[in-house]
């Protein structure tokens, strides 16, 4: 919910500190909360302090399982290091390393404002009921068919993808494409909690593909996005979505 009980407790207050895990809709939300609590300007974030508080917060909130929060934590730590680098005070070419973070926070804050507006609009609409009784539809000849060009094109792509293409064999040695394999695996795990190794591999089983997929799996496992299991020694590998990730 956008209109929710804002966690008002001060971080680091010690034992008895309880915050709903779903209180924050993401690392940017948590970051904005910390800035608000400390009454700090987004345009001038004391990175060192905020980075420490962020790390402390995700530890206390039990969010340290979530890749999205860890990703932000590592960015903050990197920023903290960059801010500590010595530089000359008259250095005109200096770019504030915080600029990108500031931009993202302002952008996110704006989206939050729109989200709150949308939430209120939907609540106003929800207070008005449509007619509850729906008369049974008349028995009539079926109306003209709806055929959508985009749907058609997607079907065409599915069909073409299913055709074993000899063209692909002419392709000269490709570098490993871990990014694409990562996207494919993440896409599959969005749909199902568990997939098999062969599914993760995709349609084509070239050496390049196998290696890319393997590297992607190991990287994703390291980041806590998924877990790799085997029921028995030498049995097929199962790839499980890490259920400790928060639902979005």
């Amino acid at each position: 919910m956008v209109v929710r009980d804002a966690p008002t407790t001060t971080l680091g207050a010690g034992p008895g500190f309880v915050v709903r895990l779903d209180a924050f809709s993401g690392p940017l939300d948590l970051l904005l909360h910390l800035l608000r609590e400390e009454q700090l300007e987004i345009s001038d974030i004391p990175i060192a302090r905020i980075a420490d508080q962020f790390l402390q917060a995700i530890g206390e909130l039990g969010l340290n399982q979530a890749a999205d929060y860890l990703d932000m934590a590592s960015r903050l730590v990197r920023l903290k290091a960059q801010m500590l680098l010595p530089r000359r005070t008259d250095d005109e070419g200096w770019e504030d390393p915080r600029a990108e973070l500031v931009r993202r926070l302002l952008e996110y804050q704006q989206i939050r404002e729109i989200a709150i507006w949308l939430g209120r609009a939907s609540e106003r609409r929800a207070a008005q009921f449509a007619r509850g009784y729906l008369p049974p539809p008349p028995v009539l000849p079926p109306p003209p068919l709806a055929l959508d060009l985009l749907e058609m094109l997607r079907a065409i792509e599915r069909v073409i993808a299913a055709i074993p293409s000899p063209v692909l064999h002419r392709v000269v040695a490709r570098p490993l494409d871990v990014e694409q394999a990562t996207r494919r695996i993440e896409g599959l795990l969005d749909e199902r909690a568990e997939i098999g190794w062969l599914e993760a591999l995709g349609e084509r089983h070239s050496i390049v593909e196998v290696l890319s997929t393997l590297l992607a799996l190991l990287e994703l496992a390291r980041r806590g996005v998924l877990r790799l299991t085997q029921h028995d020694p030498f049995s097929p590998m199962r790839i499980l979505r890490d259920t400790t990730r928060p639902a979005h």
Binding site: G132, Y133, A155
Partner: protein, 194 residues
Amino acid sequence: MTPLARLIEAALFSAARPLTVEELGALDPDATTADVRVALEQVREHYDFEQHGIELVELAGGHQILTRAVHAAAIERAQFSVRAPKLTAAALETLAVIAYRQPVGRAEIEEIRGVSAGGVLRSLQERGLIEVVGRSEALGRPLLYGTAAAFLELLGLRDLADLPRADELTIALRPHHPEPEGADDAAAYVEAES
């Protein structure tokens, strides 16, 4: 309308079924059964007197607002309640194969899609989206299918050239290599031609 009549009208409108006088009483703890009956009568008379397109009817022991029967024919004709049906994924994919490979036989469609295509082909033909455009020279002389005029009309295309070319799609289309057509069907047609 009185406040209670307004509330009762809103409740009857939002409920999915007829509501009894007792049920309607739950809307307002201060309203007696008699109050509810008076309000119901007010709503009914208002609909009749002001010549609304709806009426308050008593049925199944309760009360419900319904559209007047006199409007039924016009509303049915306008078909508001029916959404246009959509093609299944199987039908779309079969149509895709035919659009890009026409003229194409059933065996080739089945080879590409990996499933039998008889039912889908029949229903596409019934809907006028595909038609038989000839016979293959292959053994058994199987029927060849192509898209019909309705296919382009539904997609809003002028002609088949408006479909994206293969190289515009994510994966390049295999060049058409004519395989012995209808090999699977062959046994059934051994005697057909020679």
